[in-house]
């Protein structure tokens, strides 16, 4: 791990050497020194990886961090190059970004908006990070995105699924590769209709905070559009650990599908509880009772263990995909770490590559130039098929995977199987879709 020399401020690398012998101190203000925030002047460029390292999402954060390290290794020409070899844009040459060696600093979001902003600020102010990326919840992503907008650096969102990240809280300096709740719903609905029919009654249990609400809204809208009836929408407190009192009334409500708009520990517990109550063995309205978890992640599936078997959901990417890009990424990640990458690892790896590529194509680290290079960028070879970074809202549009908990896993990582790859066209929406209304990108801010 030689690439984590953490502390130097790019700006000083040269000036410190030059000025070391001089006894005359120089005073300058931050703004007069460079054209944009943290302009790299030395031979290196510093990226800031802001992931949860403590708290409930620490394992997910650790997986993201592994992917970041891998990405940095590949950008600097190390390793087998991973998805650099399959990426449709070929401007990256394995010599860092624009010839500058990539270094990185890490921060701990603690999955709290506050702490995440503090760690992002510290990376920007102290370590001279030119770009911030990461996060594993929407609240954090939106908060850090806002900060990056004000500070004048690019934010490449990690795992954030709320519509708001590229909806009402979208920012000119922020970009999201991950899919969102609307896309989950749009991808799931046809599969649900195909497998469970169009005459179903759904019961929603929703984590009582912003992300939960947007997902509930999206799924309810999509399923109602195909003829399902929404029996009830029940909000559950974030702090809940035991969902029995929310799950036990479900069977008697007349519903025959339970939608769990939960994530992380909430999802693990609510799904475990639901299976415990034997919901899946029951018959309601003459149909098999079904459970749906719209947003899946492998770590959650692992936490819920055998309870995920046969449960449908959606994910951004899965390691069992057989396209060249996915295979290359799994190969390179698996060789280095001994297990396949999660979707969170995949999205942050892509985001790092996309940022580097945009900088290379723009020929500059100026956030505004990079934003321009990313806007409307079409690419392929990163595991999700042909993808568009839409200019209107900085959201990636790509295929979405509908997955199901595997009945007979072959190994400990083999928890989900891909049921369907919903094409990008089917999950695309208008930029002014009501679920995404109410915000504006604003202007790109180069800071300084």
């Amino acid at each position: 791990m030689s690439n984590s020399k953490l502390t130097r401020r790019g700006l000083l690398k040269t000036s410190a050497v030059a000025g070391a012998g001089l006894a005359v101190p120089t005073i300058f203000t931050a703004s007069s020194a460079s054209a944009f925030t943290n302009e790299p002047t030395g031979s290196t460029v510093t990226l800031g990886f802001n992931v949860p390292q403590t708290g409930a999402y620490a394992d997910e954060g650790a997986d993201e961090l592994r992917a970041y390290e891998l990405a940095v290794e590949h950008l600097n020409g190390g390793g087998d190059g991973g998805m650099l070899n399959t990426f449709s844009s070929k401007v990256l040459e394995g010599n860092g970004i624009l010839g500058k060696k990539v270094e990185f600093v890490t921060g701990d979001t603690q999955t709290k908006s506050d702490a995440a902003r503090a760690s992002a600020k510290s990376m920007i102010e102290k370590d001279g990070a030119i770009m911030i990326t990461g996060g594993s919840s929407s609240g954090v992503a939106i908060a850090v995105q806002g900060l990056c907008q004000e500070a004048g650096v690019i934010f490449m969102a990690g795992l954030t699924h709320s519509n708001d990240t590229t909806g009402k809280d979208k920012k000119a300096n922020g970009f999201r590769h991950f899919f969102n709740a609307y896309m989950s719903a749009a991808a799931l609905a046809p599969v649900l209709e195909k497998l469970y029919g169009s005459d179903r009654k759904a019961y929603h249990l929703t984590a009582d905070y912003t992300w939960g609400w947007t997902q509930e809204e999206s799924i309810a809208a999509a399923t109602e559009a195909m003829g399902w009836e929404t029996v009830n929408k029940v909000r559950t407190p974030l702090a809940s650990t035991d969902f029995s009192s929310y799950i036990s009334p479900v069977l008697n409500s007349g519903a025959d599908v339970l939608v769990l708009n939960h994530y992380g520990g909430n999802m693990v517990n609510s799904l475990t509880n639901a299976v415990q109550f034997g919901l899946r063995e029951k018959q309601v309205n003459g149909k098999n009772f079904e459970i749906v978890v719209p947003l899946y992640s492998r770590l959650m599936a692992k936490g819920a263990g055998a309870n995920v078997k046969g449960i449908l959901g959606s994910t951004n990417w899965h390691w069992s995909l057989q396209d060249d890009a996915s295979k290359a990424f799994v190969q390179s990640f698996g060789t280095k770490y001994g297990f396949p990458p999660s979707q969170a690892a995949h999205t942050v790896y892509c985001q790092t590559l996309l940022y580097a590529d945009a900088a290379a194509r723009a020929g500059s680290f100026n956030p505004c130039a990079i934003a321009e290079a990313l806007e409307g960028f079409e690419f392929d070879g990163l595991g999700n098929g042909p993808t568009l970074y839409r200019a209107d809202d900085h959201q990636c549009f790509k295929d979405v995977l509908v997955v199901r908990g595997k009945e007979n896993p072959e190994n400990e990582f083999d928890l989900l199987e891909v049921v369907e790859v919903t094409p990008a066209a089917q999950v695309t929406y208008a930029p002014d879709h009501p679920m995404f209304a109410g915000g504006a990108l604003g202007n790109c801010n180069p800071g300084a």
Binding site: T54, G55, A56, Y57, A58, D59, E60, D208, N232, V234, R235, T236, P237, A239, T241, D242, S244, S245, Y246, S248, P249, L251, N252, G265, V268, N269, T272, N273, Q276, F277, G278, E281, K282, V284, L299, K302, G303, A304, G305, A306, N307, W319, S320, V330, Q331, G334, T335, F339, P340, E410, N411, F413, D414
Partner: protein, 343 residues
């Protein structure tokens, strides 16, 4: 009516965990006069005893099977557990399947030992210190314990299922002459409830009917006098601390199939269990048990839809609201004694 019945069941089940944790907490407070903020962590460690046992049972040797491929396309490594190779596949699988109930046997000595070490090594030095100091040092200990667990087991929840014999649920409604599926309840949760009653009963009869228990009860009422009678009350208190730790640990072991254990589950329960203890009345064992079940039931009622429609968000705060009301109207809790903890 049926929804009320259902929620009472839920409440009793939730209350079981609350009552068990609060019972141990009160035992420690009543005997030692120590406010133990690390009690939630003991619950968590109990849960991880089950995880550990299940891992031990799953220890395995590896053989390479060239027929199968792993995710990278290399020849797969096939693991066979020692248990299965020793006892034969069937008996071995049964033992692994029963890891959680077996975890009880595994957890008791470990929890007693942890309790003993904690009391002798740390708590002992805090008997004469203010309650605030006790809260703080045990709070520090709780952080340390959970970080240690996190270091070894990670932050992700670890699924620890119940034996397959207890999967599924029982239909109470049919028993009461209602339609099927109206009141169903998982077998394991019923076992948890029964288990908690057994443990509570055991602790109470131990205190009630043994000489040891009598001395401890006398010591709870008046420590100095008992000390003057020439009884080595300290040693007994150490044992009581061990027992309290074991009660918390057992609550944790049996809880694992209900929710996958994670390193911070102790903190999740800590605040709650303190509310339970205070509502029950600091130092009152029956109060703790009563308050545990009561709060469990109230919490379940608060999650009913029509109540949430009238008072949005009530299920978020019900526990705290009850605690506040009880503390303001019955300052010593439901069954507390006067003058406890008000220095």
């Amino acid at each position: 009516m049926d929804t009320f019945l259902l929620q009472i069941l839920n409440g009793l089940d939730k209350g079981s965990a609350y009552a068990l944790i609060a019972l141990g907490l009160t035992l420690i407070f009543g005997t030692l006069g120590v406010v133990n903020f690390a009690h939630g962590a003991l619950f968590m460690i109990g849960a991880f005893c089950a995880v550990t046992l299940s891992r031990i049972l799953n220890l395995s040797y590896e053989t390479i099977d060239p027929e199968k491929k792993d995710f990278l396309g290399n020849p797969a490594v096939v693991k066979t557990t020692y248990v299965e190779s020793w006892f034969g596949p069937e008996a071995g699988a049964w033992i692994i399947d029963w890891a959680v109930p077996l975890g009880i046997l595994f957890a008791i000595p470990i929890m007693l030992l942890i309790g003993y070490v904690m009391e002798r090594g740390l708590i002992k030095h805090f008997y004469k210190r203010p309650h605030a100091d006790q809260i703080l040092v045990t709070f520090g200990l709780a952080i340390v314990l959970q970080e240690v667990i996190k270091y070894f087991y990670g932050a992700n929840p670890i699924p620890t299922p119940a034996p397959s014999a207890f999967k599924g649920s029982f239909d109470f409604g049919v028993l009461l002459g209602m339609d099927p599926n109206v009141i169903i309840y998982p077998y394991w949760r019923m076992i948890y409830f029964t288990f908690s009653l057994v443990v509570i009963g055991a602790v109470f009869s131990f205190l009630q009917f043994t000489t040891f228990g009598m001395v401890v009860r006398a010591g709870m009422a008046d420590r100095e006098t008992v000390g003057l009678l020439g009884i080595n009350i300290d040693k007994r208190f150490t044992i009581m601390f061990g027992i309290a730790a074991a009660v918390a640990g057992l609550a944790g072991v049996m809880y694992t199939p209900i929710n996958s254990p994670n390193y911070h589950m102790g903190m999740d329960f800590l605040v709650l269990s303190f509310v339970v203890v205070v509502v029950g009345g600091m130092g009152s064992l029956p109060g703790a048990v009563l308050a545990g079940f009561l709060l469990g039931i109230l919490e379940s009622f608060a999650s009913m839809n029509w109540i949430k429609d009238i008072l949005p968000g009530i299920d978020q705060i019900i526990i705290y609201l009850v605690a506040i009301i009880i503390l303001l109207t019955r300052p010593r809790g439901l069954m507390g004694r006067k003058g406890v903890m008000e220095e």
